[in-house]
């Protein structure tokens, strides 16, 4: 196959950012950022498996200011990647590729990601001060 007339990716230094390109860029960034977050998932499970003391240490680390800031970033990255991932699945199936649809689903996705992040943190703080 000839390789000289194939489509090129936008050249980032001269490409004017648009909603579509920024959201697409963020999809990769959040995806990459989420992979070190898997360390936290495994650490939390391994600490619970190791026993009450290890688990208490893990909970204290996660509940610290730095732990909570990291968790805030990861939770937003997770919900962003999840919501935008659903957009990607629709595109792969051939739906929603027209420009007006892209903008509509783009803004809807940003709102949904923010709402899921805020909602889960509201739930977490409500549970923390309540039942246990």
């Amino acid at each position: 196959m000839s390789s000289d007339n194939r489509p090129l990716s936008p050249h980032l230094q001269v490409y004017r950012p648009q909603l579509t390109s920024v959201l697409s860029f963020l999809h990769r960034m959040t995806g990459v950022a989420l992979t070190p977050g898997t360390l936290l998932l495994v650490y939390w499970l391994a600490a619970a498996a190791a026993g009450p003391e290890a688990f208490a240490t893990a909970q204290a680390l996660i509940g610290s200011i730095i732990g909570r800031l990291l968790l805030l970033g990861w939770s937003f990255a997770l919900f962003y990647h999840l919501c935008n991932g659903i957009r990607h699945l629709f595109w792969d199936a051939g739906y929603g590729l027209e420009l007006p649809d892209l903008y509509r689903s783009g803004w809807l996705m940003v709102i949904a990601a923010c709402a899921l992040t805020l909602g889960s943190w509201a739930l977490a703080y409500a549970m923390r001060s309540g039942a246990w």
């Binding site: 898997t38 998932l41 495994v42 391994a46 619970a48 991932g85 699945l89 246990w132």
Partner: protein, 126 residues
């Protein structure tokens, strides 16, 4: 499982290597992760501030353990495949690319196994 269509294969279209299988794998794991992640995030949010016993009792349920196993498998499959795609796009040097993908896959297997064994320990500990 390459999942290439027979017509594409006959015409010699599409990926020359494992691309078609990778493409489907990333999408199947994404589809599985939508409900699994929402379930996990909601569960963890509800257990905020809960003690060891609550979390242990939660993880001792076979249903929860099964879902956690599915979550771990899908997370590390999707994460490793996704990082591989990024590496293939942005790392031009063959040796560096090969090594980086190998490191990612090794890390995914080690972390994934640690997670799976933790889930089994939580499930079977009396």
């Amino acid at each position: 499982m390459s999942r290439r269509s027979p017509l594409g294969r006959v015409r010699g279209l599409g990926s020359a290597k494992e691309g078609a299988g990778h493409w489907w794998g990333l999408r199947f794991s994404a589809l599985a992760l939508v409900p699994l992640t929402l379930w996990f995030a909601a569960s963890v949010a509800v257990m905020t501030g809960a003690g060891y016993e609550t979390v242990r009792a939660w993880a001792a349920s076979p249903l929860v353990a099964g879902l956690l196993i599915l979550l771990i498998v899908a997370v590390f499959y999707h994460g490793a495949r996704g990082l591989q795609e990024v590496i293939e796009d942005y790392v031009p040097r063959k040796g560096v690319k090969f090594t980086a993908i190998l490191v990612v896959q090794t890390a995914a297997i080690v972390l994934g196994l640690t997670g799976l064994l933790s889930v089994l320990l939580l499930l079977f500990r009396v």
